[in-house]
Symmetry: C2
Subunit: 449 residues, 2 copies
C-alpha cells in the first residue's frame, strides 16, 4: 500500500447539500426542511452509563474520568488541572492534559448512583471536575433514585421507565396512570432543585402510541427539559423513527432525546432519521458499547453527520481525537476496534479495485464521501492484488521514480496480476516485480546502444 499526494476530498462548504459534490438537479439530497435538526443536534455521550452495561465493561474511577475528559471538554475551555486526576481513587492513568485534545460532546451520562456505593462516589467525583459538558445521571423514575441523583450534584437527571406492555407486565408492573402520577411528582421535585430533568419511556416503539403521547404531553406540561424516545430492543427502522418523532414533535414543545440500540444494524440511520424528524439530542457511546451489541456509536454517527452537516460537525467537534478516544475505550473494555468501523476501521480509506484506484488518483471525491484528513487520517491505494489496474501501478512507478511508457506499465501490471493470482502479495513483492521489469527494460536499451 502506498500513500498518495492526490488532493483530498473536502465536504462542501454549503451545509444544505449533505453529500459533497451533489449536482443541483438531484432532488433527493436536501433534507433541510424546517423541522430537521441535522444542522443543530446535541450529543449525550453515554459510554459511562450505557457503556457500563456492555458485557466487558468494568470502569474504575480513573478510567471514567479519563474517558470523559476526552469526550467532553470543548476546545478553548480551561484545561482540567492535573490534580483533579491525581486526587482520584486510582490515578494509574497518565495525567497530561492538553485542552485542544478533547472531543467536545454536549452531555455526559453516568450510571445511576443507586447502582452501587462506588457508582455514587464516581458520580460525585465527576460532577466536581468542572467539565464544560453537562453531567447527567440515568435513574429509574422514582423519588428515592431522583434524590440520590440530585445529591451527587449532577446538572440533569434522566428519568426512565418502561412503557411497553412487555415491561409493564414483566418488569415494574405499573399502569400508565400510575407511571404518570409518579413521573409528575419526581419531575416536580427535580425541577424544584434547579436541576435539568428528562423523562423517557423505555421500549418506546413497542408502547401504545396513545399511552406514549399522553404521558409525554403530561410531562411536557410539567416542564421537563426533554422527553426521551428509546428503541430499547433495537428493532426500529428509520421510517418508524421518522413517523414517531414527527408525530411527537407536534405534541410536545420540549427537546426530544433519542436512544437507539443496534441489534438490527440501524442505530446510526435511526439517529439520523430522528434528527430529520425534529429530535434534538442523540445518545451515543464510544464504539457503541452497551447492553447486548450496543447503541449508536459516536464515531459512526460522526461519519454520518459530517456528510450530512459538514459545517456544523467540523466546527463543533474535535474530530481528530476520535481515533484516540476509541482506542482508549477499546482498551478499557478489551475489544478490538471492528475491522469495518466507519472512519477508524483499518481499511476505511483503503482503495483496491483498479477502476477505483484510477479515479481516486485523479480526484479522491470520486470514491470518498468523507475526507480522511478531517479525522487526522490518510488514504491508501492498495496495488497488490489481481484486481489492481494499470493507472494505480503507473502512480506507484512514478513514486518509485521509474520512467515507463503506458504500454510498459500495462505489461508490468499484467505480471503483477499474474503473480497475485498465485499468492498474496506485499508491497515489497509488487515493488520487486516493478523494479525487476524496469531493469529488464534498461538492459534491453543498453544492449541496443
Amino acid at each position: 500500500m502506498c500513500g498518495t499526494d492526490a488532493p483530498v476530498a473536502g465536504p462542501v462548504s454549503n451545509g444544505s447539500h449533505p453529500v459533497q459534490g451533489t449536482p443541483s438537479s438531484s432532488p433527493y439530497q436536501n433534507v433541510n426542511d424546517f423541522i430537521s435538526n441535522v444542522n443543530r443536534f446535541k450529543i449525550i455521550e453515554s459510554t459511562l452509563r450505557e457503556g457500563e452495561q456492555f458485557a466487558n465493561a468494568f470502569f474504575d474511577t480513573a478510567t471514567k474520568v479519563r474517558m470523559q475528559r476526552k469526550s467532553s471538554v470543548r476546545p478553548n475551555h480551561l484545561p482540567i488541572p492535573t490534580f483533579r486526576l491525581v486526587t482520584l481513587r486510582r490515578p494509574r492513568f497518565g495525567t497530561a492534559c492538553d485542552p485542544s485534545d478533547e472531543f467536545g460532546v454536549d452531555y455526559i451520562e453516568l450510571t445511576s448512583p443507586v447502582s452501587s456505593p462506588q457508582s455514587f462516589e464516581d458520580c460525585k467525583t465527576i460532577c466536581g471536575l468542572g467539565l464544560k459538558a453537562k453531567i447527567l445521571t440515568h435513574v429509574r423514575c422514582n423519588m428515592e433514585d431522583a434524590k440520590k441523583a440530585v445529591e451527587c450534584g449532577v446538572d440533569g437527571v434522566d428519568l426512565v421507565i418502561g412503557t411497553s406492555s412487555f415491561l409493564r407486565e414483566y418488569s415494574h408492573g405499573k399502569s400508565i396512570q400510575m407511571i404518570e402520577k409518579i413521573a409528575l411528582e419526581v419531575i416536580e421535585y427535580v425541577k424544584s432543585q434547579g436541576v435539568e430533568v428528562r423523562f423517557s419511556s423505555e421500549d418506546s416503539f413497542r408502547s401504545d402510541l396513545v399511552d406514549l403521547l399522553t404521558l409525554y404531553k403530561a410531562v411536557d406540561n410539567a416542564g421537563v427539559n426533554r422527553v426521551g424516545v428509546a428503541d430499547t430492543v433495537g428493532g426500529a427502522t428509520p421510517r418508524m423513527v421518522y413517523d414517531l418523532i414527527r408525530t411527537l414533535r407536534g405534541v410536545v414543545g420540549c427537546d426530544i432525546e433519542t436512544h437507539f440500540h443496534d441489534d438490527t444494524g440501524c442505530a446510526v440511520a435511526n439517529a439520523h432519521s430522528a434528527l430529520e424528524a425534529g429530535a434534538t439530542h442523540i445518545d451515543t457511546s464510544v464504539l457503541g458499547i452497551g447492553e447486548r451489541n450496543g447503541i449508536t456509536p459516536l464515531g459512526a454517527l460522526m461519519a454520518r453527520m459530517v456528510v450530512t452537516a459538514p459545517q456544523y460537525v467540523t466546527k463543533k467537534y474535535n474530530l481528530k481525537v476520535l481515533k484516540e478516544v476509541e482506542e482508549l475505550v477499546a482498551s478499557a473494555v478489551q475489544v478490538n476496534i471492528p475491522f469495518n468501523n466507519p472512519i477508524t476501521g483499518f481499511c476505511a480509506f483503503t482503495h483496491k479495485a483498479g477502476i477505483h484506484a484510477k479515479a481516486i488518483l485523479a480526484n479522491p471525491s470520486t470514491y470518498e464521501i468523507i475526507d480522511p484528513a478531517l479525522f487526522g487520517l490518510t488514504r491508501y491505494i492498495s496495488i497488490n492484488s489481481r484486481i489492481t489496474g494499470w493507472n494505480a501501478i503507473r502512480a506507484r512507478c512514478d513514486q518509485l521514480g521509474l520512467t515507463m511508457t503506458d504500454d510498459q506499465v500495462k505489461e508490468v501490471t499484467a505480471k503483477i496480476k499474474q503473480m497475485a493470482d498465485i499468492r498474496p502479495l506485499a508491497i515489497d513483492d509488487t515493488d520487486s516485480i516493478i523494479h525487476s521489469y524496469h531493469m529488464g527494460l534498461q538492459k534491453n536499451v543498453e544492449q541496443k546502444a
Copy 2:
C-alpha cells in the same frame, strides 16, 4: 454468566407486524404497503466480488468454492459431489458436504473474469459446480468484458458504469449519450446469448436524476432483467434511498437491485429502506467485506429482515449456518468478527443491567427483538457487575440450588455489588460470594438449633 432456561422470544407468526409483540394501536410498525418488497426480497451475495475488493482479501479457488457453497445451496438441493471440490486447483479445505448446512442465497456474484487469468478460470469453475444459486459476474459495461463473461458460462452478467459527474470526468470520460449507446449494444448481445443482464449505474446518488432515469428507462425498454442503484461512496441516507427507489419504481418495469456501502453506517438501513420503496434485490457480502469498510453485511441484513419479515426469512434462509459462514470468511481474510456484530457479536445476546436481567428472566421478549435460537445461539445473563440486580442473583441462586429469602438474596446482591466496585468479577467469584453467604446462613441456623 449463566444460561437461562427462560422461554425464548420468537418472532410473531404474522408477517404484517414487523416488530414482535407490537400492540395493534401503534400505527408506525406496519410497512406492508403495496409497493414494499420486505416480504419477498432476493439476496445477491457478493463476497466473491465486492469482498475481493476488501483490503485483506486473497481468495484462492478452493476458498471461493467453499465460501460459496455455504451461502448458495438451498436446503433439499442435491449435495455438491465431493469430486467437484477435489478437482479444484487447491483442494486444501475439507470435502465433507452436508446439504442441510447451506445458507441459501439467491445469487452469487463473482469478480470480473477480465481481472486476471485466474479470475477467468475461477469463474468457469464455479459456473460448473451446478449450484442452485444463479452465478453472476460483475463487469465494466463494454462488449469485450461482456463477451468474456458470457464465455464463462454465467447465468447473468452485471454491467456497471459510472454515471456521476465525478466518475464521468475522472474515470471513463464518457457522456451520458455515449453510455446509453454502449449499454444498449452490450445488453442486446448478452440477451442474445440467453443470459440474464443487469445494468447498474455507479455512484447513483451523486448522479443527475434526469440522466439516471433516462438511462434506466432506455435499458428497461431494451429488456434488462434488473437495473442497479449503487451508493458507491456510502453517503446515502434511508430517506434519500426511499425517494430515489420510489421514483425509479414508477419509471421501470424490471427488477431493481441495490448496493450500499457502509462508510456512514447506514448500509443495512438503506437496504431496508430500498425494499420498502420497491427494490427487489439486495447486494450483500459476508461480514460486509468490500472496498473501504465494505457494504451491507449478510448477517446484519438478516438481523434486520428477520424482525421485519420473520416468516419469509426463516422459511427461505438457513439462519443457523450464519455464524459458521462468518467465521469461515473472517478466517479467510484474517479479521475478527466485530465485537458488536449483530447476531454473532460475542455479547449480542448478553444481558447485564439489573432491570434488564429481571425482565428477561420473566420474558425474553422484553429486551430481545430477535430470538437467538433462530440462529442456533443462546442468551446469557451477566450477573458479575455492580449494575446487576437481585432478581438476576435470585435466578443464579436457584440454578445453584441454594434456598434463600428475598431479603437474603438482596443482602448477598449488595455484597456482590460491593466487590464488583473494587475489581472485575468472573462468574466463579460471584458464585463464591453466593456460596459463602449461604454457608454463613446455614451456620447461623445450626448454631440456633
